[in-house]
Amino acid sequence: MNALRLYGRYIATSIRSQRQYPASLITTSIGAFAATITDFVGIWALFARFRRLEGWAFGEVALLYGVVSVSFALADSLTRGFDVFGEQFVKTGDFDRVLVRPRSAVLQLLGYELRLTRIGRLAQGAFAWGVGAHLSGVEWSPASWAVLAFAVAGGIALFSGILMVQATLAFWTVESLEVANTLTYGGIEAGQYPLDVYARWFRNFLVFVVPIGCISYFPVSVVLGRVNALPYAFAPAFGFVFLGIALRIWTFGVRHYTSTGS
């Protein structure tokens, strides 16, 4: 069985198991929607008061927020295995079993679970995206669809990379540390506003170190016609570069893995 088909099997199993508790699935999804839509309410309130932010209108920032939210919701849904890696695999010693199977650890962890409840976050991101597109009057040419689709792909790669680095830390700390939350949830928080808002050093951090600006700010600016330079549309490629580096770090961590022995 090739890797892709095996992954398909993993995901089918995961979906079937989550469907065993439909009520829990629905309430948790609604909860995720309610908890995450608050951020959008906050943005709305500030724009209702101040009207503009560094030349950006509400609709434009809503589109920015939508792109970041949708990317993160998808990444978060796909990488559950890395998210709980410390608790579920290192602490219990279960990672030993992952390693003896004749398949890559990354594939097995990606197949650990496809979290359906993330549809709550996805839905509010899509909602913000729709509001933003409507208010800012984006012309939906195939080109702008392509730019934003690439942005979301880059965003999934970036956020997955962050979660992978977090998982790698667990090789040394055993339990998952929540430090990465600063970069994931904090990254969404930072990425939902235009970069112009931030101090220069922080802006550079969001472009060159953890390139959240590259997967949201640059492509959205292109779609909104705020910049005319096409190369910015390719900025989300840095999300894939980040993922590549994260995979390197992960491999390094796996080589240094010592079992907890339980």
Partner: protein
Amino acid sequence: MSGRGSHALTPYVAVVRARFGVLLQYRAAAIAGFVTQCWWGGIKVMVLTAFFAASAGAPMTLPQAIDYVWLGQALFTMLPWSGDPDVARMVRTGDVAYERLRPLDTYAFWYSRAVARRTANPALRALPMLLTAGVLLRVVGWSAYALRAPAGVAASLLFVASIALVIALSAAVSALIDALTVATLSDRGVTVLVSPLVIVLSGSLVPLPLFPDWLQPILRNQPFAGLMDTPFRIYTGNLAAGGAVFALARQAIWVVVLVLLGRVVMARVMSRLQTQGG
């Protein structure tokens, strides 16, 4: 002999070392939490600064809004966004029945536990955050972003009184969540409903005065404003002395209302308590 002795001690040494490691984990978690709070606060301060630069006429000044944000970061663990995890566990296992056997008033018992929880956590977390926002930012030259001292002596005293009412109010909401947890047999539903409300309506998300003017009458009079907005506006001087006393009274009224409501819910729930077993 000595060899055997050290052998016998080995497991205990191992336990101590393991336990020590676990405690270090907690410290690491606390530091991680602190870093997160700083990150969040920093972003909020920068965003608000940019918003204020664009237009005038907000019902609070930028320094007031910045103080509001840092206080919110320092005291966010006072917010009652979930009930008591132990109560939720007891409901799940059915142990909640034992709570009825204690020679105590269950509501008062759970309320007291909530008071402890809403005091201990912020006490540990607030100081580093206040020092960072108030002192460190000044030292490194970011005075514009720093937390300032309270607006005056009267403001300080009223602020302390208001924080005491925050604890009373927060515990009342927590105890109400606990009672509803027993009623619905799970903490899930209640938390899903209450926590976004608390985050938005307390001012933790965006300072309440910055919401649109037409919402202000509602925002000012709802109970969750007493969890953050009231003390913070007193601290920053956004609420003058007369308004502050009025706001304290409003906090106190909500404490009474929510305690009574909690007691009613608790009495009804406990009179036909359903215990999960096994």
